[in-house]
């Protein structure tokens, strides 16, 4: 049985766990949704430089209510701030940095991820076609691609044997973070490295369509 974890708790848990992955000076691009929460949980003493694909390094917190400007926004359109040492640049430079391997980590949401590290997160044919935005460039160019998502959707696994939706990128995902587990995608396939205290390997197997190996010793997610 799937452990019952309220959505908000689950999302914060994922964000907090991912925030522990960074080291001082890392350059990170956060997608919208759960990924955007990661910024709030960076451990003290670690200075992460956030990039927004619309042309900024050094993104700071959201602008205060009634402050800010539409000329400084995050990728989701929210008014944000720029930290000292930040910089602005045009879209070709922004994606040059992304495609050129100058971004250490991108954190993205997913509709599906599969055993090979294929990622689908940009369209559902015949239903929702928002466009890929910067996602295809991000998964192609960032040094590491982290997926942040709830483990299931309506009880159905999102980590599948083979993505059925149109791909954002092939063999691009390095790690998957859900409220129940952390996986690494290795050359020999999916590896379960941590599970949530409420979960067991059996439960993860039940709600994960993809095959995976289990790291020994298996870690327990801090929650």
């Amino acid at each position: 049985m799937l452990p019952e974890i309220p959505k908000e708790v689950a999302e914060i848990r994922i964000a907090r766990r991912i925030a522990k992955e960074f080291k001082d000076g890392d350059v990170v691009n956060l997608g919208i949704g759960i990924p955007s929460l990661v910024a709030d949980y960076i451990p003290k003493g670690i200075r992460v430089i956030f990039q927004t694909e619309n042309g900024m390094l050094g993104m700071g917190p959201r602008a205060k209510e009634g402050e800010g400007t539409i000329d400084i926004i995050g990728a989701g359109g929210v008014k944000v701030t720029v930290l000292p040492g930040g910089s602005f640049f045009s879209s070709d430079v922004s994606f040059g940095l992304i495609r050129g391997g100058h971004i250490d980590v991108t954190v993205l949401g997913a509709l599906e991820v599969d055993e090979e590290g294929n990622l689908a997160n940009w369209m559902i044919p015949g239903k929702l076609i928002p466009g890929m935005g910067g996602a295809m460039d991000l998964v192609t160019g960032a040094k590491k691609v982290f997926v942040a998502m709830l483990h299931t959707i309506k009880g159905k696994p999102k980590i599948v044997k083979k993505c059925s939706l149109p791909l954002t990128g092939r063999r691009v995902v390095n790690k998957i973070f859900t409220e129940l587990a952390v996986f690494e995608i290795t050359k020999s396939g999916l590896l379960l490295t941590e599970i949530a205290p409420e979960a067991s390997v059996e439960v993860i197997k039940e709600y994960t369509e993809a095959e995976f190996k289990v790291r020994e010793p298996l870690g327990i997610m801090e929650v």
Binding site: N54, I70, F89, S90, I129, G131, T140, G141, L167, G169
Partner: protein
């Protein structure tokens, strides 16, 4: 570009010669860096059958999203249309053509169009739907898509400052696609907040050289209230 000093025009005057069927680049990402006053002038003018090249289609009631909602657009070349419900609806109904281009590829294609390149090879989109209809070139064992340049008849862009010879300076990440589009269209119309004296923009910090700009329009404040 014909004259040393660039004319300062009203929005309506600046877009007067944009004909039905024109291909127009419009700067901006979401709500930032969009030339709102020029778009309002296009709406007043009622020009039709436009092809827009833009990062996204904003919202149905904001910026160039309104041109789509207003039925003035035949085709959109963009990376994202998800926030404008009417773009999505017209697209699903087959009433609007949409060419999806990954955002970084869109930037490079516009840059290539402006800077005289015949195309660029990008790893982005290999093995996805973005590969459809494109030449795949393998170099040292890695696959790349050959992506072709984009150009337009007009570019409508937004900057913070201009001087009288057309040099532009942008503020914040409202810069985004604007400097790229400034090189990639036959006629470039820059909407700015303020026109400063020549020399007031430090020559080291000119973001778009004035030779690329044809017309300057001072933004109407009301569009920037948000």
């Amino acid at each position: 570009m014909g004259s040393y000093f660039k004319p300062i025009m009203s929005p309506d005057e600046a877009v007067r010669d944009i004909p039905d069927g024109a291909t127009i680049m419009i700067g901006g990402f979401n709500v930032g860096g969009v030339p709102y006053s020029l778009i309002e002038a296009l709406i007043r003018k009622g020009v039709k059958d436009l092809t827009l090249i833009c990062n996204d289609t904003a919202y149905e009631d904001v910026g160039h999203g309104k041109l789509i909602a207003n039925g003035q657009v035949r085709k959109v070349i963009a990376s994202h249309i998800g926030l404008n419900r009417i773009t999505q609806k017209l697209y699903n109904e087959g009433k609007l053509e949409v060419e999806f281009v990954p955002q970084g590829t869109l930037a490079e294609r516009i840059r290539a169009g402006g800077f005289g390149l015949g195309g660029i090879l990008t790893p982005t989109g290999v093995g996805t739907l973005a590969e459809e209809g494109k030449q795949v070139i393998e170099i040292n064992g890695r696959k790349y898509l050959l992506e072709l340049p984009l150009r337009a008849d007009f570019a409508l862009i937004r900057a913070r400052k201009a001087d009288r010879v057309g040099n532009l300076w942008y503020w914040g990440n409202a810069r985004n696609f604007n400097p790229l589009m400034a090189a990639a269209a036959d006629i470039v119309i820059a909407e700015v907040d303020v026109v400063v004296g020549i020399g007031e923009i430090n020559p080291n910090d000119v973001h778009t050289p004035g030779i690329l700009v044809d017309r300057i329009v001072v933004a109407g404040g009301e569009y920037y209230a948000t």
